[in-house]
């Protein structure tokens, strides 16, 4: 029996030397916080299941062209003869159109698969951009202090008091609508909360002895920030990143739903839901509203459960919201 087995058999909160039996005590070896966090995450069933769901969604997004080939339906192809009933209504789920068609006779399954690409792309890219800007600003504000901090902290305050969605749609409408502007808009209005968290962490770490030691050895500001401070604030950043991905995905879908995001005919979940809602056919054809909605919901739910798991793994004292 290894230490890992013993530890994995005990609840998280009771983890510690007391639970390690006499034969285990000899084998105790130092484990990095990373390894501890990873082991905790591995034991979290809900997080594992949500991770499998996320992997499945990613796979669907990657193999979207396979759906196209298998069904023979390109995502934007309109099948007015086979895809619509003689009355011009969408067709329900059948053998040819597995999840049915929309009001233009397009294959919903194929469009969902292609829509997953956009959701995931925006979710990941916008989140990383947001976190990168927020981390840099937070590091600079917390480390330099004084006037830099005052200016940046005020900027964060201002950004947090801006009516986000209103500004986002204004911005998206002034510029050419599209994927790039959606990502930029999400990053512009997202970085301030990351910066606030990072700044708070840096403020306390800045005073530690090892930072002083690095400074006395002649290390430059950026070196201290990136080599000495950043690794010590990385855990909250990672937690925030995982929880930010579903926020970005919903943000993109919302902008597209409001008509200032991804433009038709590109297959996009928010766009598909907006199409269905504005169409008169929806009262006879629930599927073309329900399937994209469910796809979006499953995706955000999976990311949120996984994010909660990551947070618990890095901070076992934190209250487990979902198990």
């Amino acid at each position: 029996m290894t230490v890992g087995d013993i530890v994995s058999a005990t609840p998280v909160s009771e983890e510690g030397p007391l639970n390690v039996g006499p034969e285990g005590a000899k084998k105790i070896e130092g484990r990095s916080p990373w390894r501890l966090a990873f082991e905790r995450l591995r034991r979290d069933k809900a997080a594992l299941i949500s991770m499998i769901v996320i992997v499945l969604i990613v796979v669907v997004a990657i193999i979207a062209p396979v759906f196209k080939h298998l069904t023979g339906h390109p995502p934007n192809q309109q099948y007015f003869d086979t895809g619509l009933t003689p009355d011009g209504l969408p067709r329900g789920p059948t053998g040819t159109f597995v999840l049915g068609t929309d009001d233009l006779g397009r294959d919903i399954l194929v469009r969902l698969a292609y829509g997953a690409r956009i959701s995931l792309l925006v979710g990941v890219v916008a989140t990383f951009l947001t976190v990168a800007i927020g981390t840099l600003v937070g590091l600079a504000a917390g480390y330099f202090g004084k006037i830099v901090d005052t200016v940046l902290a005020r900027l964060i305050d201002v950004m947090l008091s801006i009516p986000f969605l209103l500004f986002a749609i204004s911005l998206a409408s002034v510029f050419q609508t599209g994927l790039k502007i959606v990502i930029i808009v999400l990053a512009i209005f997202g970085w301030s909360s990351v910066a606030r968290i990072v700044r708070g962490q840096v403020l306390s770490i800045r005073e530690r002895e090892y930072v002083e030691a690095a400074r006395s050895m002649g290390a430059g500001s950026w070196r201290i920030m990136l080599i000495d401070i950043l690794p010590n604030v990385i855990a909250p950043i990672i937690v925030y990143t995982t929880l930010l991905i579903p926020v970005s995905i919903v943000g993109e879908a919302t902008l597209s739903f409001l008509g200032v995001g991804v433009q038709p005919p590109t297959a996009d979940w928010g766009q598909m839901i907006a199409d269905a809602q504005t169409s008169n056919a929806v009262e006879h054809a629930w599927w073309f509203l329900v399937f994209p909605s469910v796809a979006l919901l499953i995706t955000t739910l999976a990311f949120n459960i996984f994010g909660d798991g990551v947070r618990d793994a890095f901070d076992p004292r934190s209250d487990r919201v979902f198990r």
Binding site: D157, I169, L289, D319, V321
Partner: protein, 338 residues
């Protein structure tokens, strides 16, 4: 306390100033192709050169940008043109200008839309506070129980639910499907004035209230539960129990009061944001509130409306933040403002 208030008010004014500059610059300055492009954007696609020139003269688009911003704040120079649009007297004179599309005063539009947004925000705020606080407290006094797990899952479920998805699904289920089967309990959307017909008003607001409350209360369940669990572990709670207080008194008087601080913060931010327009809910349920007007203005390039709503929305957020800070001191005697 007074010094603190003055500082916060100054900060609020600063935020409003920055935001007004940002909006102004976004629409009047960012367009690199110069005043012609701005004027034709305002005027629409089918404008003649003459009309575009008229717009340029009226809005002084050829003036340097800082001067234009000055006009925007303090009013445009000259006299009212009896045939054309009335002259904007400037934001600082309380005049938000006139719509480019229907020539109506923006002040009037906002006065008409605000009650709708207010009905939506206040009604759903009552609902989400009740749902969020109740489920959070019940979860916290019996952690790990079946009830706690149920609430926790529901909270995460609705937390992950995008507002517009819940809205359209509710409409599909409770409007379309019911109507197809001959039951018309819920309307498709739209607004009825409270003063005209209170019952119809409530019937029209029910689904929007629930939609907004369900997605918002999820955060409150999580927040209340976490905060209550923290507080219930404190020494003074043990003291309260030890001196023989009833559990109800311990939980509500001693526990909840201290646990409320983060909830009050969140509530202020949420309510402040919503009072500037519950954009998505208004859009889904066709409620012509502030957010609905803003979206319509954005798609039709009606700048004065957009700017008006942005200014109102930012003011709401700034005021909400101010109120939160004051409430802090009232709720938690440990907090001293300075």
């Amino acid at each position: 306390m007074v010094r603190f208030l003055i500082r916060r008010v100054l900060l609020g004014i600063f935020v409003l100033w920055v935001v007004s500059m940002a909006v102004f610059y976004l629409f009047f300055g960012l367009n690199k192709s110069g005043p012609n492009a701005v004027a034709s954007r305002i005027c629409g696609k089918q404008c003649t050169t003459q009309q575009i020139n008229a717009v340029k003269t009226r809005l002084h688009l050829n003036a340097p940008l800082p001067k234009q911003y000055w006009y925007f704040l303090f009013g445009y120079p000259g006299k009212d043109d009896p045939n054309g649009l009335p002259r904007n007297h400037g934001i600082l004179h309380g005049d938000l200008g006139y719509s480019y599309v229907n020539q109506q005063s923006v002040n009037t539009t906002i006065k008409q839309s605000f009650p709708i947004t207010l009905s939506l925000a206040v009604g759903s705020a009552v609902l989400w506070l009740a749902m969020g606080l109740a489920s959070g407290i019940l979860s916290a006094i019996r952690p790990r129980s079946l009830l706690d797990r149920t609430f926790t899952f529901l909270a995460l479920f609705f937390y992950s639910m995008p507002t517009f998805v819940l809205g359209v699904l509710l409409l599909l289920l409770l409007f379309y499907q019911l109507t197809v089967h001959g039951v018309s309990w819920f309307p498709a959307g739209g607004y009825v004035n409270l003063t005209d017909n209170p019952a119809e008003w409530a019937r029209h607001m029910l689904l929007p209230w629930f939609t907004l409350a369900a997605v918002t209360s999820a955060a409150y369940t999580r927040l209340t539960r976490g905060s209550m669990l923290d507080v219930l572990g404190e020494d003074y709670i043990r003291t309260a129990r030890a001196k023989g207080l009833t559990e109800r008194r311990v939980v509500f008087r001693h526990g909840l009061r201290a646990a409320l601080t983060p909830i009050v913060t969140q509530f202020g931010i949420d309510l402040g944001t919503l009072l500037g327009g519950a954009i998505i809910t208004e859009q889904v349920f066709n409620l012509p509130g502030l957010g609905f007007q803003a979206v319509r203005a954005i798609t039709s390039n009606d700048l004065p409306i957009i700017i008006g709503v942005v200014v109102i929305a930012t003011t709401a957020i700034v005021l909400a933040n101010l109120v939160i800070d004051i409430l802090y001191a009232v709720l938690d005697p440990r907090v001293r403002l300075h």
